[in-house]
Symmetry: C2
């Protein structure tokens, strides 16, 4: 957790291996298999092959004139069980289990060094076993990895601890009785003609073990990562784990020593997901999202202070705020301190104050207010304070324009949920001024003239220099991409006012709280009024005759719900009209040809073929659990479709977010899909 590293494999015939700080699978392979009595090597298909290699790895039989020496086990012989913290492949007596333990990361401010060491240790565990009970002869089996780099056999190991490392940055280790190898490939290592088990020009390293006749033999392997010294530029931070480990060997040794605890954590997570009242597709999506999330996380040490970063999948932007707000629910469940940490990074370094203008009239500027940057940098390069890597000016509602209003709402909604679930009063007191600035800023973006407010964002940030703001949905059309008069953003602004109301009330600022209520009601009223009976929904953008139908109109409902404001999201509560309208809106558009694909999967906008898994999963939860939309068979169909999009649309790229007609087209290797943690509530 927080090591921004991943062992990626699973797709048959695809590249993979151990990678650090990447936005995609590393260009290597994972080699797990066994040797049969004839000396043929049987591999799980966790690596890619060049065409000239393929003849050797004949699938299913001997080609004419080619002696079968290696074989990839065919898909139909392999079973896979992908759970929350374990991923297990079984075939022909062989078991390959990747254990990715995860649990609450303790708050560095209040936990012990030992707890932090345990949580930050940058390693995962692997079990490889071979069931040789039916045979009398011993059989060899193996585990190996190949990456572009050379391996070394470090000093300081003995028969009880064997490890192989690459560039002091990553390594594998075991305490079991194995033969270690470094070679060009596994076949060369298994049939070594020369005298050296460690041929240092080889890029494949691993372990060979023997299962005696009549026994099942299991190896426990640690897979670790280590980046010493400076980890990022712009701000010169280190990985938090370097406080407790001084090299890769220590990481590997410690992870094996503490393996019982890690394995127990993994077992506990698996049991939790297993027991959840969800269908198997939903469980798959949660497990897949969770793996992809952790691989993107980075727990840094910035001069002694912790700094939590989640990288934006393949794009590697750091703490992209419109992802943070979606991953909020997952982080609140596991480690709320990371939410506080990120919110405070935004306040301290990535906030700004702007002016606003009416669309088309950039010459006349009004007071704007505080907002927050889209991100904090990219590819481990922190951007300068007050600037994201993403946003540039002079763009009118195009990709890379400013997301000033969206990020403002995101900060407020995150702060509201954080406070409501932790009751961290110190946080409120510390940021009282920021909360007041946020309220003023939200109102000014509605309209600088209080008499003309509708609760909905209509004024653009001066930072766009005459352009127009966008939302997180930057690759969709204006139905979701344009910020002003957008009902998606409006629902988040409504939620922001409710969050501020809660916090001001707690602070005793009753006048401010009353202002919030006023704006929230205005917003709700505008949305309800926006409902078009003829269309049967609220059009996405309340201007210019827009007729797009969008699911994320309902997104804002999640925040009051998560803040425990049951009345606010009840059809019988003060915003009952809004809630009822939202339900009607959703029920009417959740039909094929509008906001459903032919396979039953959800289409976020009727006018854009670009549907994001994280948002779908979030809105599914809102529909089922807040609006009480009965999903029934359509729901199961949708879950199946979404799981298939990942399995057969994103099979090379871990968990993806953006899909066009069920095929991943961006936002691959993504952390955001953990919105589906809500399903486990």
């Amino acid at each position: 957790m927080g090591a921004h590293s991943s062992l990626t494999c699973g797709m048959h015939g695809a590249r993979g291996g151990m990678g650090m700080e990447l936005g995609k699978p590393v260009d290597g392979g994972v080699y797990v298999g066994y040797e049969d009595d004839k000396g043929v090597l049987h591999f799980l298909p966790m690596f890619s092959m060049k065409d000239d290699e393929r003849a050797r790895y004949v699938q299913g039989g001997e080609l004419e004139g080619v002696k079968l020496t290696e074989r990839t086990i065919p898909a139909e012989a392999i079973t896979r069980e992908y759970q929350w913290a374990t991923d297990t492949f079984k075939a022909e007596g062989l078991t390959f289990e990747i254990v990715t333990p995860f649990f609450s990361i303790p708050d560095p401010a209040t936990s012990s060094a030992q707890e932090q060491k345990y949580a930050s240790c940058p390693a995962t565990l692997i079990k490889v076993s071979y069931d040789n009970r039916k045979s009398r002869k011993p059989r060899r089996f193996f585990f190996g990895v190949r990456m572009d780099g050379m391996w070394t056999v470090p000093f300081g190991q003995d028969e009880h601890f064997k490890c192989l490392t690459q560039r002091d940055r990553l390594g594998i280790a075991t305490e079991d009785d194995v033969e270690t190898f470094v070679n060009f490939d596994v076949p060369k290592a298994m049939r070594r003609s020369h005298g050296n088990p460690h041929f240092l020009l080889g890029q494949t390293a691993g372990f060979i073990a023997e299962a005696k006749g009549g026994e099942t033999r299991e190896l426990l392997i640690s897979v670790g990562y280590f980046k010493s010294g400076q980890a990022t530029t712009g701000k010169r931070t280190r990985y938090w784990y370097t406080r407790y480990f001084s090299n890769i060997e220590e990481v590997l040794h410690y992870s094996l020593e503490m393996a019982p605890g890690y394995l127990a954590e993994a077992e506990a997570r698996d049991a939790e997901l297993k027991e959840a009242k969800l269908n198997s597709e939903q469980k798959f999506l949660i497990a897949h999202a969770t793996h992809s999330y952790w691989g993107s996380t980075e727990w840094l040490d910035d001069g002694g202070r912790p700094r939590w970063i989640v990288n934006e999948g393949e794009y590697l932007m750091m703490n992209t705020f419109d992802l943070t707000v979606d991953m909020l629910f997952f982080e609140m469940q596991f480690n709320p301190w990371t939410v506080r940490n990120v919110l405070e990074q935004f306040v301290r370094e990535y906030s700004y104050y702007d002016q606003v203008f009416a669309p088309g009239k950039p010459g006349r500027l009004y007071e704007g207010g505080i907002s927050f940057t889209h991100d904090m940098g990219v590819m481990n390069a922190f951007s300068p304070s007050g600037r994201s890597s993403y946003e540039v000016s002079k763009l009118d509602r195009e990709c890379f324009s400013f997301m000033t209003s969206e990020q403002l709402a995101n900060w407020v909604c995150c702060a509201g949920v954080y406070y409501a679930q932790t009751r961290d009063d110190d946080f409120l007191v510390r940021h009282r001024g920021i909360l007041e600035d946020c309220l003023r800023s939200l109102q000014h973006r509605d309209n600088p003239d209080p008499r003309k407010r509708t609760g909905i964002m209509k004024f653009e940030s001066s930072f766009t220099q005459g352009g127009g703001e966008i939302t997180t949905y930057d690759s969709l059309d204006h139905s979701l991409g344009q910020a002003r008069n957008n009902i998606y953003l409006a629902s988040k602004c409504w939620a922001s006012y409710l969050a501020l109301e809660l916090m001001f009330t707690t602070l005793g600022a009753t006048d401010k709280a009353a202002e919030c209520v006023k704006s929230a009601k205005l917003c709700a009223k505008s949305l309800v009024k926006g409902y078009n009976k003829k269309l049967g929904f609220i059009p996405a953008v309340l201007e210019g005759g827009n007729k797009s139908a969008i699911i994320p109109a309902i997104e804002g409902l999640i925040f009051p719900h998560e803040m425990g404001l049951k009345d606010a999201v009840s059809p019988k509560g003060p915003y009952g009209d809004l809630i009822k309208t939202m339900k009607l809106h959703l029920e009417n558009i959740l039909v094929k040809g509008v906001c459903l694909y032919d396979d039953g999967g959800w289409k976020l906008s009727s006018t854009a073929d670009n549907s994001w898994m994280s948002k779908i999963n979030l809105c599914q939860y809102i529909a089922r659990n807040i609006l009480g939309v009965k999903s029934g068979r359509a729901g199961a169909l949708a879950d199946h479709a979404h799981a298939e999009w990942e399995r057969n649309g994103s099979e090379f790229d871990a968990c993806s977010d953006q899909f066009k007609s069920g095929v991943a087209k961006g936002s691959r290797y993504y952390p955001r899909i953990v919105t589906n943690i809500l399903w486990m509530k």
Copy 2:
């Protein structure tokens, strides 16, 4: 020098850019060009394009329906002048000059910190100019680079110093009046629609300048590299330059500050090569070899002590000894201390003592002696002491077997040349024991029984565990690849005895010197006796009826020649018969179908289509300058052929060593070809 970094470009349409610690060009591009009055951008073709980009960069005119907005300048419009330290491209008023200053690196033991800072500064210089004298309108021109990584705009610059850096590891800077940019590509930067000159998601960075009407405007740009902290594993060293620079900005600033000195050095080198009495093809080969050599060098700080490493081109093996011995002449000319440094690394950490056995009888071992490993590791991972990354046991005269005898001869020949040219008596005294061990080891590999010695290596190292040794020519057939009874190795052993004789005589060890003379004479006699009148040459291997003709039989002559032992290489001297036989051998085989290709290029072995440029260049020098073989028109033809092999056989991979029928087939991006420095003597 010693930064193991390179700006690679030149091949049209090929990838390139700034790379660190690579064995190949980096996957990026270099963008140099100007904007015409219609706003079309004209680029030198120093980058690769995807197919979908190509339509925009139409060569020579507008495609139907596609407006020409970018153009790559066609090859016929470009001139290139590739000198020893500068490489200049000119086209359509644009000049792009890469300046790679090099000079003697001062001995760290006896020079000042300022001298070492100056020599180790990891930067090169670039001049980009645009001649706008014929126009009245201003025109913009640009320099940019793209690499896979994000750019930052560091603190601490002003209008006089502008720099852009990537991951604190590399950067570009100038003191000239330019607009700096970061963007997806140059066209987007030149026609920026948004408000931010530094769009931090872009992977292209550079400078835009304006040439006023009537003026020629020139920019001076620094291109720098910086790796902080640990540079290697196995041994934890740092780059020497980190003693003087603490970050990339300092490197860039210093290199611009000291630019006059660096430019003067480059100018001096250019003049030296220009004045050499060589044809233009030879000058090209020297310039090309020199660039490729420096890019492979690594000057490290190992706990305060300097450690010199030359990486083996694309293979990245460190201080491969059979390259060191060939690069010896270049290093002796520029910085002899690096030769001493490498020899002493071998003594201290990469030597071993073995036993020997007669071929086919590995069961009976005799005393062997000292030798040295093939290399010291690979890809910045030092191998354990006494072990190379390359050599493995149980191989019988195959690639990756031991080179025990070859590396022993290499140490002795390097030491002899080092001593003869420096008269560093401390070195001799310090290593007297090693010299004695070397003599004993050479003799034992001839034959443990003094009565059966022939001066030629016939016994195999016990480290092969029953296998057979090879030579540096590991990818050729036995004519050059097998060590025992090989006349190539024999000529080097002869040279080794002469080198030892010189050193023992100096040390006053007359008995040892006499032993050396005895063995040298035996060796010479065996070689002369090996001459086969019917064949007209000495067959490559003096066993098994071998009938291969090889050019490198003459290689050994270079060492006594470089040690100033004129008599030893004179046809009238004590080894006159050998010298005359060698001349006859060479003249008889330097014919088409034997050791010449159809294009006149040299073929090292009559039985292998695998000819190495470094060795060809070395043997050309020996033929012309030691044996007095008249080359005439054939020589000029050969030089042209060899230059063409590099230009049209290795056009993507800098200077290559191995060619099959004129096409580079390995050993690309190689440092070894600097053997051709000998031509400048």
